[in-house]
Subunit: 138 residues, 3 copies
């Protein structure tokens, strides 16, 4: 049985947003017990990741790492029409994930104890983001 | 219903190749309405990505970023049998994707407006590349 | 038909571990011919990758690259409770994969000739790791 739904999120700009409970709700609503849950983001300047969900410093350090590795306003970038964070947002998306595929068991995504599902907004301005969730199982 | 097909591409060497229409054709041929499309590359020196499909400068800037982050001929690399771009090609593949999993709705991959599916050839010489497409749905 | 199993691995600390034969065994046991195999790691300080399986120097060079790109003990990191390799392990996981989705054909993962499935332990100390394998097909 396959079903599909959407999660919509208005971000406040660059940062990480925990969507674990939204994803779990989508799986619960799908009514399957065993299978897979695909989480897909319909954008190229925001991305998805599974990350440690206990210490907020982990998320801050990830942002620090990305800001250093892909600096806003780096003169090597030519695609700057939308500002200094435009091209870095695409690079950050390429280096992380556009889709996650999570095992479902007993009617929920069977994540590890410390795993959360995060949307990572890479643009500095607020954006409306859409995530498609497709659940496939019995 | 599950079906599988292949996309074959002869690259002209390093660069990005838009395979969105090939993937959409595979989904159309599969005859499903709702489900998922898995795109898998059978190589470790070329990879896949979802990327902004409007401004070609984005793809050029991505190449610039990767060339700087994983320089050809970097003396830290010991696996150099096939030349200075050999090991960087493996690193670039690891940092991007070997498989993409795209939601299917109304008989096509339901991508965002600005998302295209790209094969990224990381070797400087031309290569024949094979991508397996597996479609699963109703 | 969907089935699910687990692979458990005791690592000796940082390094790559070939789990290709474990994944192929799981697919064989599932008894499907055509479909997909999802490999999912239940941790945020170890990850998965598809990598060249012929020359061990490739895996060593990947480790060298990651150690240089995400150095242990980097003073930019504040999440250091578990030691200098703690936060780098999370960053390395984010830059690689938590899940792989492999096409199944003729009852096995239809990988390219040079592709192996690896678990990459990013912590320096030994850890017990669990990988969930979900097989979906006919």
């Amino acid at each position: 049985m396959i079903s599909q739904t959407e999660i919509r999120l208005d971000t406040n700009g660059r940062g990480t947003y925990d969507i674990t409970s939204d994803v779990q709700a989508a799986v619960r609503d799908a009514g399957i017990s065993l299978g897979l849950c695909n989480v897909f983001i319909r954008h190229t300047s925001a991305s998805l990741m599974l990350c440690e969900n206990a210490d907020p410093a982990v998320l801050r350090d990830l942002e620090t790492f990305m800001s250093r590795t892909v600096p806003d306003g780096d003169p090597m970038f030519t695609h700057t029409a939308e500002g200094p964070d435009d091209m870095p947002a695409h690079v950050r998306s390429i280096l992380t994930q556009s889709d996650l595929n999570l095992p479902v068991r007993d009617g929920r995504c069977d994540l590890g104890t410390w795993q959360g599902v995060y949307l990572w907004e890479h643009r500095t301005a607020p954006h409306r983001r859409t995530v498609t969730v497709t659940i496939n199982g019995d």
